[in-house]
């Protein structure tokens, strides 16, 4: 999984049927020390807010398992909100 910080929201009125009704967040990938290292657009299932540090699962089969499906073009899912990295 990857550490990230939610940078903003993505609005997509027309998308693949899987993404209809899903919340898309643009997340900066961050190192443990907080420095940015690229970004990902991920589906949010934990109600993360902008500015929060989150955990992103970036693997297709695990992502589909979260949604209880066997097929679907999903790979990046926000699966946790990070309180602290010690």
């Amino acid at each position: 999984m990857k550490l990230a910080q939610v940078a903003g929201t993505v609005v997509s009125p027309i998308s693949h049927s899987f993404f209809e009704g899903q919340r898309l967040l643009l997340c900066d990938l961050v190192d443990p020390d907080g420095s940015e290292n690229g970004y990902l657009i991920a589906v949010d299932v934990v109600d993360a807010g902008v500015g929060e540090r989150v955990l992103i699962c970036d693997e297709g089969t695990s992502a589909r398992q979260i949604f209880g499906i066997t097929t679907g073009p999903i790979r990046s899912v926000i699966v946790g909100i990070v309180d602290d990295v010690a």
Binding site: A7, G8, T9, V10, V11, S12, P13, I14, S15, H16, F18, F19, L24, L26, D28, Y39, L40, I41, A42, V50, G51, G60, T71, G72, P73, I74, R75, S76
Partner: protein, 93 residues
């Protein structure tokens, strides 16, 4: 998934099996501020509505084929949505 901009289309009449009827578009990957980043890729259009100039988001690797009606096809990038708006907490643009 990443942001991209459609900058062209690819016409390929000879294709491997399973790719019939799929529209291929040239997509320029973008950074979060919608500036060009990296080299363009050819992506299958899984929403069948993307056109040149459009801001899209796309999925790469194995999940790209999952976006298409036929799931076991030779596709490594697929456009899965058109983007209306990106709102960043800190946006210099």
């Amino acid at each position: 998934m990443h942001l991209g901009r459609v900058i062209g289309r690819v016409v390929a009449t000879t294709r491997t099996g399973g790719l019939d009827g799929i529209k291929f578009l040239v997509v320029q990957p973008l950074d979060k501020y919608r500036h060009d980043e990296g080299t363009p890729v050819v992506a299958a259009d899984a929403v069948a509505m993307a056109g040149t100039g459009e801001l899209v988001y796309y999925v790469a690797s194995r999940e790209a084929a999952e976006a298409l009606p036929e799931r076991f096809v030779a596709v490594d990038h697929a456009i899965v949505g058109l983007v209306d708006q990106v709102t960043l907490s800190e946006d210099p643009a």
